[in-house]
């Protein structure tokens, strides 16, 4: 599997490390909603299809990325710097 790093270009999967599900939204830190915290910390939907994930180009430029990957085919739909993706900008 190749991931097209926005800084380095296409690189082998071995250079990247998975950093978790990027679809979660952190509840308000003051929230006492137990279910919301349980979902945030433990529950994962594990979809068969397109999934939004954090990856780090640990063996390269060390940038944190948001990758949209199809969990069935490993097709990479999009890759963006996490900083830009989280602030709503396209990278």
């Amino acid at each position: 599997m190749l991931i097209d790093c926005p800084h380095c270009g296409p690189r082998d999967l071995a250079e990247f490390s998975y950093q978790g599900d990027a679809t979660r939204t952190r509840p308000d830190p003051a929230s006492t909603d137990t279910k919301a915290w349980l979902d945030y910390v433990y529950n994962r939907p594990n979809p068969a299809g397109l999934h939004r994930e954090y990856w780090q180009h640990a063996g390269g430029c060390r940038a944190h990325l948001v990758v949209e990957r199809d969990t069935l085919t490993h097709e990479i739909r999009s890759v963006a710097f996490a900083r830009s993706a989280d602030s709503g900008d396209a990278a």
Partner: protein
């Protein structure tokens, strides 16, 4: 004067090794750099950092992914990540000059002179040897002279700069340098290599 000890050990012996049926494929040597620093820009300050490095090192460093430059004196710099540059030179005072030149408002500088080992590999078969180790395109068009790449070989992080058409420099963690040099030599055995 205290002599600097090489981390490469006794196994890195000067001389000719491997299969010389077709001549010397590559020459491998350690480059004893006086200064190696990593400079990181705060977000939005990438251009200012590149300009500051350019002025201090007397070179022209574009703040673009993978780009690099070298000065006439042999000081060189290249991009290793978003807003991150590796700068090195033979002069031991260079690290201090760069730290003094880059202000807190632009970014941070870390002196890695003691923490990295630089290996040079050059020769007619250099691209062929390196293609065994890294999933990178080492052709001159994809990887021009002075350009840099940050990559890894089996979890050993390596930063590579092309210093000539047939010459590359590798920056590896000092504690991994001996193992990496061994790997490099092993990969060059079938083309014949000389250690200098």
């Amino acid at each position: 004067m205290v002599e600097r000890a090489s981390p490469l050990g006794g196994g890195f012996r000067p001389g000719s090794h491997g299969d010389f049926a077709d001549g010397n494929g590559v020459t491998i040597s350690e480059v004893l750099k006086g200064s190696i620093v990593e400079a990181n820009a705060w977000p939005g300050k990438e251009k200012a950092l590149a300009e500051s490095i350019s002025a201090t090192c007397r070179l022209t460093l574009p703040a673009l992914p993978g780009n690099g430059a070298a000065s006439r004196e042999g000081t060189c710099a290249f991009n290793i990540g978003p807003g991150r540059f590796l700068v090195s030179g033979m002069d031991e005072a260079l690290a201090g000059d760069i730290i003094a030149a880059i202000g807190d408002e632009t970014g941070t500088v870390t002196d890695l002179s003691h923490g990295r080992t630089v290996l040079s590999i050059e020769g007619p078969r250099v691209e062929w040897v390196l293609a065994k180790l890294f999933a990178l395109d080492f052709s001159l068009t994809a990887f021009p002279v002075h350009a840099g790449r940050a990559t890894a070989h089996h979890d050993v992080f390596v930063q590579i700069q092309r210093r000539g058409e047939k010459r590359f420099e590798f920056y590896v963690f000092r504690s991994f340098a001996r193992a990496f040099a061994k790997t490099l030599c092993r990969a060059a055995e079938d083309v014949g290599y000389t250690i200098r």
